[in-house]
C-alpha cells in the first residue's frame, strides 16, 4: 500500500490519476480505515488530503454562502455558531453521524463519497442545494451534490478527480432546514430512512420554495420535487402535510433488508417528511427548534 500526503489538490489529483489498483482518499478515515481493518477494502494507494492548506476551514463568502473545507469534522461544524444558525438541518444531520470519537474525524465529503444510500449528511446537503468543487486533470469544476452518487458505493467522480471544497448557498431570510432519520435505537445506528427538508417562506408564512430529499429509500439519495410541490404555496396545513407524506412515500424505491422492509421504509419516509417539514417551517419562522 502506498501512502501519500500531498499539499495541493492538483498534486492529489495527479497522484490519483497515476495510481493503479484501488485508490482511496483519506479524510477522517472513519469509513476507509474501518473497511481496511474489517478486510472489506484494502487500498493500493491512500492519499491523505489533510495536509492541504485550508482543508479545515469554514468560511462565509460575501454573498452569504459557505465554503466548508474537505477535512472539516462534524464536531467543528457543530461548534461553528453562525453555520448552525444558517443551516441547523445540515449541522444536525452531520452531528448524527457516529459517536463523539467519530465526530472528531468524520467529514461531509467522506460521507458523500463513501457512497452509502443511508449517509446522513447527504440528504441535508441535497436539500440545501449544496455543490462541491471537483479538482481533476482538467482543472476544477463545480457539481451539485445530488449528482455525485450514482449507485451504492459508487460516485460520478472519475479516476484522478478529488473533491476540493463543499459550497452551501446563502441562507436568505425566512428560511429553515431540518433533517430527521429513523433508527431503531437512540444513537449509533444507520438510517433506515432519512429525510431533509429546506423551505423558504414569504412574509405571510406561505412556503415559496422547498426542497425535499430522502435517504436510504433508493440506491442513491433522492430529491423529490413532487414532495416539494405538495407544500409550496401552503402554510403547511394538514392537507399539505398529508400530500407531502404521500409524495415522499410514492418516491421511495427501497429494498427489504436486515434494517427494514420495503413497506416500513415507504411508510416511515412519509412520516419523517411531515415531521421534518414542521421543524424546518418553524425554523423559517424564526423559532429556535
Amino acid at each position: 500500500m502506498q501512502y501519500h500526503s500531498p499539499t495541493s489538490f492538483e498534486d492529489a489529483a495527479a497522484l490519483a490519476a497515476e495510481a493503479t489498483g484501488v485508490t482511496r482518499f483519506l479524510a477522517g478515515g472513519t469509513d476507509v480505515l474501518v473497511q481496511l481493518r474489517a478486510d472489506i477494502t484494502t487500498p493500493d494507494t491512500l492519499i491523505d488530503i489533510k495536509k492541504i492548506p485550508n482543508v479545515q476551514a469554514i468560511s462565509r463568502s460575501d454573498d452569504g454562502g459557505w465554503t466548508i473545507g474537505v477535512a472539516v469534522s462534524g464536531a467543528e461544524m457543530r461548534e461553528h455558531k453562525e453555520l448552525g444558525q444558517d443551516w441547523p438541518g445540515l449541522v444536525e444531520a452531520m452531528d448524527l453521524i457516529g459517536s463523539t470519537q467519530v465526530q472528531g474525524r468524520a467529514t461531509l465529503v467522506g460521507n458523500l463519497c463513501n457512497g452509502s444510500p443511508a449517509a446522513d449528511s447527504v440528504p441535508a446537503m441535497v436539500a440545501a442545494g449544496a455543490s462541491v468543487s471537483v479538482t481533476g486533470p482538467q482543472g476544477t469544476r463545480q457539481v451539485p451534490v445530488a449528482d455525485i452518487p450514482v449507485s451504492p458505493g459508487r460516485t460520478s467522480l472519475v479516476q484522478g478527480e478529488v473533491i476540493s471544497a463543499v459550497h452551501i448557498p446563502a441562507r436568505g431570510s425566512n428560511a429553515g432546514d431540518a433533517y430527521l432519520r429513523f433508527i431503531p435505537r437512540t444513537e449509533m445506528d444507520i438510517a433506515v430512512v432519512g429525510c431533509a427538508i429546506n423551505v423558504e417562506l414569504d412574509s405571510n408564512g406561505i412556503i415559496t420554495q422547498a426542497r425535499v430529499s430522502l435517504g436510504a429509500v433508493a440506491p442513491t439519495v433522492l430529491l423529490v420535487p413532487e414532495a416539494a410541490d405538495a407544500i409550496i404555496g401552503s402554510a403547511l396545513d394538514d392537507g399539505a402535510l398529508d400530500k407531502l407524506a404521500k409524495a415522499a412515500s410514492a418516491a421511495c424505491n427501497p429494498i427489504s433488508d436486515k434494517r427494514g422492509t420495503v413497506e416500513f421504509r415507504t411508510h416511515v419516509a412519509g412520516v419523517l417528511a411531515k415531521r421534518a417539514a414542521k421543524i424546518a417551517y418553524a425554523r423559517a419562522q424564526g423559532e429556535n427548534t
Binding site: R185, I190, K258, E263, F264, V271
Partner: protein, 750 residues
Amino acid sequence: MALDDRKTTDFKFVGTRPDRPDGLDKVTGRALFGADAYAPGMLHGAIVRSPHAHARIVRIDTSKAEALDGVKAVVTRADFAKGLSGEFSFVLENVMAGEKALYDGHAVAAIAASSALIARDAVKLVEVEYEILPHVTDVDAAMAQDAPVLNASYADASVPAGHHPNVVRYHDSGHGDVEAGFAEADLVIEDSFKTEATHQGYIEPHACLATLGADGKGELWCSTQGHWIAQKTCAALVGIETSQLRVTASEIGGGFGGKTTVFVEPVALALSRKANRPVKVVMNRSEVFRATGPTSSTSMDIRIGMKKDGTITAAEGIYRLQGGAFPGAPMEFSAMCGFAPYALENVRQVGYDVISNRPKQAAYRAPGAPMASFAVESVIDELCNKLGLDPIDTRLKNASREGTKASYGPRFARIGLVETLEAAKAHPHYSAPLEPGQGRGVSCGFWFNHGGETSVSMSLSEDGTCQLAVGTPDIGGSRASMALMAAEVLGIPYENIRVTIADTATLGYNDVSHGSRVTYASGLATIKAAQDAVAKLSKRAAAKWGIPEDAVYWEDGCAKPSGANAGNFDPLPLADITQNMGATGGPISGHFEATPEGAGVSFGTHIVDAEVDPETGKTAVVRYTVIQDAGKAIHPTYVEGQFQGGAAQGIGWALNEEYVYGEDGRLQNSIFLDYRVPVASDLPMIDTVIVEVPNPGHPYGVRGVGETGIVPPLAAIANAVSAAAGVRLRHLPMSPPRILAALKAKAHEG
C-alpha cells in the same frame, strides 16, 4: 435441610458495599484480559471459515498458504483427536469441521504465522472445495418432513417415532390431567410465539494464548467462565492427559454463559503443537457472532385455562428450540421454567431440541427460561385483560410457595416469589399514572440456580492478612463477595484479604462460573475454608494458653477463652497467632471442597412502562423496576448490578437484538452496527428492589442472582408494549417494522 451453623443477621462485613478489588486494575488498564498475554516467539493464529450454511468439504488445499513467507503451521481436522464421543465429539466438530461445514462461519482450517496480518492473508490462500447442500435455519422449517438432514445419527432415544431426524432430543413432564383442568376453566387462551436467536454480546471477544509441546505438556491462558472444563475439553480434543494441560483464566470481559465452552482454545493448542511455538488466537467481532454460541431461537405454543376469579386450572406448553447444528438446545429448561412460578394442579410441558444450520448454541443467562417465560406470561396477561383481573393479584393468587409441587416435579423449599409480588404491588411504580400512549407490563420469572463442584483454599500470612484462592472466574464482582464472606468469618478487614482466581494446577476441580452458582457455592466453600482456618487458629491459641481446644472460641478476629472456667486470657488477635506460626506448628491455611446441593431457587417480578410511536412502531422503555429475591445480598451493589444487567439484556432481546439469516443461510448482521444491543441512551434508569428470603442451603442465606433477572424482561416488556400499541406482539424482537406491521394488520381488521 437447614445448616447447623447458619447466620442470617448481625453481619459486620456482609451486606456492605466496599469497592471491588479488581476495580482499579480495570479502570487503569492494568487488568490482563484474554488478548493481553504475550510469549517470546509467539505466533498469531487465524481461522478459515465456511461461507456456506451447509456444504460437504470435498478438498482442502493448504499448499499456497503454507508457501507464504511467515506461515509456520496449518491445521485441519486431521490434527485433532479421533474417536471422541458425546459432548466432546460435538465440541470438536464445532471448533473444526470434519466432513461437512454445518453453518456460515464454521471453522474448516487454521493458520499460525509470525504476524496477525500474515495469518489473515494466508487464510485467503487456503483453497476449500465445497459441495453445497440445501440448508435450513428456522426451527419450524427444520422440523418439517422435507427439511434437509444435518446428521442422521444425532437423535437420541428420547425422541418419539415419526419425527424428522433434525429433532434430536425430546422432553415431556408435568402432573395432573390438563384436559380435565381446561374443562373447568371459564376462559382458555391458546397462542403461538416466536423468539429470534440473540447473542450474549460480551464486549471481550474470545482470546487465548496456547503452548503445547511434543511431550504432551501444555499451558493455556484464556478468557473463560470455567478453566477446568476448558482444560478437560481441550485436553480431550488434542489428545493429551488432562493434568498435563495447565489452564489459567484471564480477567474476563463478560461471558453471560457464552464462555462456558471452548472455540479457539483447542485450535491454538493444535497450531502450537504443530509449529512448536506459542500461538495466540483472538477472534474478531464478526467471528464471535458467526461462530460462537448465541442462544436458541424458539417456536412455542401455550395454552392456559383460568377461572373468572383468576385461578389457573390448567396449563400446557410446547417449546421447540433450535440450537444450531448440534444437540443441546436447552428446551428442557424452557419446559421446566415456564410454569414454575405457579402452583398448578394440572400442567404439562413438552420440549423439542432441533438442529439447524446455525452455530452451536451456548448458554445465555438462565438458558431457555426467558423465552418460555415470554410466552407463558404473555398468555397470563391476555387472560387478565380479558377477565378484567389485576396482573399482580392474579399472579399472587396462583403463586408457588413453600411446599408447592413445582411444575417440573419437586416440592419447593422456602422461596420468595410471594414476597417479590407483594413488593411489586407496594412499589410506587405500580400505582404511578401512565402518560397517553404508554403501557405497563408485569412478569414473573424463575431460575433453578446451581451448586456444582467447588474447591477453595486460603492461606494466612505472618502479618495477619489472608490469601484466598477460588476456582470460579469472576464475572460479576465475586472476588468482592468472597472477601466479604471470608472477612465475616475471620474477623479481619475486607482489604486484608486478597482473592485470586487460581489456575487448574493449584486447586481441585471447580465447575464453571454458571448457574448463578459462584456466590452460593464458592461463597459457601469460602466460609467453610475460613472456618477451617479459624479452627486451626483456635488450636494454636489453646496450645499457647495450655487449655483444651474446645475451650477457645473465635470472635471479632481474635481467639478468646470460652468462659471463666477456661482461664483468664486476653483475646489473641489473628495477627498475633500468624506472626509465630512457623514455630507453633507451621503455616496455617484453610480448605474446603464439596458439591453443595442446596442452591436455593430464585424468583423475580419486573414492572415495565413502555411507549410506542404509532406512526413508526418505535418503542421506548420509560420506566423499569426489578424486584428479585437474593436470599442474602452479600454485596448489594453487585446484586443490583446483576438485576440491572438482566433487565438491560432483556430490553435488547425484546426490542431489537436478533440473528438475521439471508435466503443463502448466511448471517446478515455479524457486527454490532446491525446486531443492535441497547446503547446507554436506550435505557431508563433501572430501579431495583432486593428481597431477602434466606436460602436454607447456604450458611448466610445466599441465593444466586445472576440469571433470574433475565427471565421476566421479555414478557414484561412485551406486555407493556402490547398495552401501549393496543395489539398483542407475539414475535420477538418487537422491532419497529414488526410493530408497525402489527398495527397495520389491526387497523385493517377494523
